[in-house]
Amino acid sequence: MAPEERAFQERVDAGQKIEPKEWMPEGYRKTLIRQISQHAHSEIVGQLPEGNWITRAPTLERKAILLAKVQDEAGHGLYLYCAAETLGVSRDELYAQLHSGKAKYSSIFNYPTLTWADIGVIGWLVDGAAIMNQVPLQRCSYGPYSRAMIRICKEESFHQRQGYDILMKMVEGTPAQRAMVQDALNRWWWPSLMMFGPSDDASVHSAQSMAWRIKQNSNDELRQKFVDQTVPQAEYLGLTIPDPELKWNGEKGGYDFGEPDWNELFEVIAGNGPCNSERLGARRNAWEDGAWFRNGLTAYAEKSAARGAASMAAE
């Protein structure tokens, strides 16, 4: 290990933050860019499934809350792209990677939102799983990422409570509403568990990421924690987790649960999910259809700068 790499690792081990201008191993930079941009893309694509219900939100209050939430997500995207930019990659480059299919986003957003209950379940499970993943990242070794995460986590936990609140209201409602909630849980449960990634034995990159403090817990660890936290909440809502193998294991102090269909996860990652082509298509169209808008603003900025320079010269 080169001396600067050793010094770097020592600082990481001591829990110090690495800042943009400082030396870092190329692999660290690359891993961070990949992880942060994937996270940013997820926030952006994540607008779509929830946006699908804004115009149909059942009350003005719910509509306002959902608008605020989606706005927060776009804001998270913005922080994260900024954090990635500190590593020397532009937002436009990252978009290009997303649009070409080279960069990934969370597979969970390739599932459709079919009823209003899905909005509740996304808040509860998807944001819940996201928080579980993100809380340790607040202590991540890269300063800008860590600080973005602190801001994001605060808002996410707010979103999770709002999602749970939607479900509380619905399970107290009519039988049709309760059925919608159970149906939504049935559809989102396994995809949510898969948000933690493949099981540890199948996971790549993990050891090095842990050493760099980009990752702090194993996938299976976080998944277990998520299940343990979620099952009692489901019980409180009077819902059935769609997993016949689920049961309390007193010995380990947690739940045993079934194996997700990893095949499905790999298929969805490979582009074969219910909404992959629509989500990516929507983002591509938004980008392409908006080219004139971005070019217009750039042209105006250049004209203004030229006018400013001309009037300075004239003075």
Binding site: Q47, T55, N295
Partner: protein, 249 residues
Amino acid sequence: RHTLFEFLLRMGDNTLILGHRLSEWCGHAPALEEDIALANTALDLIGQTQLWFGLAGEVENKGRSADDLAYLRDAYEFRNLLLAERPNGDFGKTLMRQFLFDAWHYLCLQALLGSSDRRIAAIAEKVSKEVAYHLERSRDLVIRLGDGTAESHARMQAGLDDLWPYTGEMFIEEAPDAALAAASVAPEPSSIKAEWHSLVAETLSEATLKKPADGYMHKGGRRGIHTEHLGYVLAELQFLQRAYPGATW
């Protein structure tokens, strides 16, 4: 009282329907900053809807909540300007619609600050800061895109030409207006016309856009005679409340 109720519906219907249109953009705007700004504007407008409809329900005094007014009226009971229900078109048209509306909305709220009805003045006070910001933003973008590239200029001009015939309605007197003005509750619609025109003219000139001639103007929104678009908006907006009557959410 009915006159006052109608007036409050107008205000709330404008913000509800325009908020709906804006939220159709969610996740599809040409830049992330625009996604955020549009969601933010829509959010403000929905919040304002709650205020106007809340007061409308109170004034009507038949036990209708803000949600009842939003979700359980059919198109012919809506009182919004036709401008608010125009389809989004491209992003330039959406921005142009926003600017034309914001300019009117801002001036209208400024006048309502002096309403003899304190509840109205209080709402106007509360929301006029939001709307001032909407106007600042849409005005700025209209200028920058009008004076941007040839394409952005052409798109903004096309949006303007297309929407202009829907601006005349803002200033038409309808039955309730005289009574409202007489009681100093709300200004006569025509009273803000000159100011609106000068604000718009100044902005368009800075944007290098050509202000269309005042030709045929559409009307009817404030009397409940809408375009064919509103029915589709409501079918979507009201689906859950209509399909699950009486459910709480």
